[in-house]
């Protein structure tokens, strides 16, 4: 049914339609509305045969999810930012034990300094944890990805994180087509676990494995993500057949045919980039876009195909590894390794901690990529002035004070005590 609704609510409704049997989460901004919505739906009986478990922390939440998933229940949780960090040990355990938990990550920056706004730092902090990670471009795609996520996770028995841009999507009210229960049931069969802890037939899951088999266990985790790489496009095709929408898949291309420059990005920023591409194309600038949906597994081969033929690729990261560079940029570089006539790859870091990513700034940086390509990271809309002043201040005295607080004063009117 078409409705005008907040992204968190349509996402919660989609999860409800997937018939979760256990939901266990701890509130943290900006993910909270999703689990609040689900809590309400469980209480009113809109979602049946589901236990909503209240816990004391994110670590408790994911630990309880591990237990319920191991007991054979379809299990869901959601978190953001520091909440995901607090889960970290259990994040690795869930994937190491091959438990198909579905988690929504309402993506948000990581502190310090504390920041509740959107970027992809939290998702990136767990990119090597063995979970599948898919990024939604719109709230419609968030709905559709969650329905595909349960099917995908359960097919390969691995956990999946559906990354939905915090605030930008979770708090946006827009048009979403929420499918019916019958439609979702026809796509998503009941959970048939590959392993169940059962007192009648006792087994152990998560035992210690020594040097004799650890490599092989890890190899098979990777094997399952390789299986997912093949399964993701198949599921997207089946989804399109049943729901008549292009959602999910490994990646999507937009106006890349004959494009000299191809932008690569993940999440909601793709919408703004598409508008910029239309404007620039109208001005005769040859530019296209690859929207990466599946970040883990990383579709290197598909990406190589999508980028073959362009002269330049500009990767727009919504986070970066300090001391290294944009994570997505590094992965795109990896995909282009050993490729003949690979495009020149440029890296833009945009929208950190909720800074708006504007059409004007994107247009400017794409033009600059063509005329004055740069090495390393370009920080979009960096306030050069306050950075230079702080660098000078730091180098002029030992006790220069806390950087975050100094910068806060520099962006406001109050002078910093020099």
């Amino acid at each position: 049914m078409l409705k005008q609704v907040e992204g968190s609510i349509s996402t919660a409704e989609a999860i409800g339609l997937c018939r979760p049997e256990v939901i266990c989460a701890y509130p943290i901004t900006p993910q909270t509305h999703i689990v609040e919505g689900l809590g309400r739906m469980v209480r009113t009986g809109e979602v049946k045969n589901c236990e909503f478990i209240n816990v004391e922390s994110e670590f408790g939440a994911l630990s309880a999810c591990i237990g319920s998933s191991a007991a054979g229940a379809r299990t869901y949780t959601a978190t953001s930012s520091q909440g995901l960090l607090f889960m970290a040990e259990a994040v690795y355990n869930a994937s190491g034990m091959g438990l198909p938990i579905v988690m929504t990550l309402g993506t948000r920056a990581i502190g310090a300094p504390i920041n509740i706004w959107n970027d992809h730092s939290d998702a990136m902090s767990m990119r090597d944890a063995g979970w599948l990670q898919m990024f939604a471009e719109t709230n419609q795609e968030s709905v559709d990805l969650h329905i595909q996520a349960f099917r995908l996770a359960e097919a390969v028995s691995m956990p999946i994180m559906v990354c939905v841009d915090g605030f930008i999507l979770t708090h946006a009210v827009e048009r979403v087509d929420v499918p019916t229960q019958a439609e979702v049931d026809a796509f998503l069969p009941p959970y048939d676990p590959v392993q169940v802890v059962d007192p009648k037939e006792p087994i152990s899951i998560g035992a210690m494995v020594g040097p004799d088999a650890f490599t092989e266990v890890k190899y098979l985790q990777n094997y399952k993500l390789d299986l997912a790489l093949k399964l993701i496009p198949e599921l997207a095709r089946e989804f399109k057949k049943k729901f008549d929408r292009d959602s999910g898949g490994l990646l999507r291309t937009y106006r890349t045919e004959d494009a000299d420059m191809v932008v690569v990005a993940m999440g909601s920023v793709n919408g703004t980039i598409k508008d910029v591409i239309d404007e620039m194309r109208a001005d005769g600038f040859s530019i296209g876009l690859v929207t990466l949906v599946s970040y883990r597994p990383f579709p290197a081969e598909e990406l190589r195909k999508a980028l073959s033929g362009c002269k330049q690729t500009v990767v727009v990261d919504r986070s970066f590894a300090i001391g290294m560079g944009g994570q997505l940029a590094a992965d795109v570089d990896h995909a282009l390794r050993n490729v003949d006539r690979a495009p020149q790859a440029l890296s833009v870091i945009a929208g950190l901690g909720g800074r708006p990513v504007s059409r004007a700034s994107l247009r400017g940086i794409f033009r600059k990529a063509k005329t004055e390509p740069w090495e390393g990271m370009h920080f979009l809309d960096l306030n050069q002035k306050i950075v230079a002043t702080e660098v000078e201040h730091m180098s002029s005295k030992r006790r220069s004070g806390p950087i975050a607080e100094n910068l806060l004063r520099r962006v406001s009117v109050a002078p910093v005590a020099e």
Binding site: Q4, H171, A172, N270
Partner: protein, 190 residues
Amino acid sequence: MLQIRIHGRGGQGVVTAAEMLSVAAFLEGKHAQAFPSFGSERTGAPVVSFCRIDDKEIRLREPIMEPDVLIIQDPTLFKVIDVFQGIKRDGYLLVNSNKTLAELGLAQVAAKLPTGHTRVVAASEIALKHIGRPLPNAVLLGAFAALSGAVRLVSVAAAIREAFSGKIAEANVAAATEAFEAVSAASVAA
């Protein structure tokens, strides 16, 4: 695409206003997108919300920097922030106040906009009369429907009834209708 920026203070229903407006447009078969200015919201603190309305899918996610319509729910904001930033030359201005634009010191700003595109509505007083509380958000949406013609009053009323229920919904609808009629009558007179 029509872009509306709503300025007010925490507690005045600024975010709800943008959401209701998007629902009204949706009910008319249009695409609409409403979102808040994601701050740490506190009662009384300046709050901004945004609404885009278009005939096709809205992909843009940047904040509204060049609004076609400005709705100011609290006239004390003029002294605090530059609410007029980026307003289009053929834009609309709707202010909640019982004073005139001149008395508010806005004559110069208003003069830059086309005749008939600016309006002051005593939305808080209308809200007090109907709802019993000075909540101007729904009232101004009624005025917005009359001023811009972008959505119909019946759609605004339906959106109000989706956001609220019972007596509160009906009181807000009555208040929005009074504002709609006041602005419509003034337009005819002009």
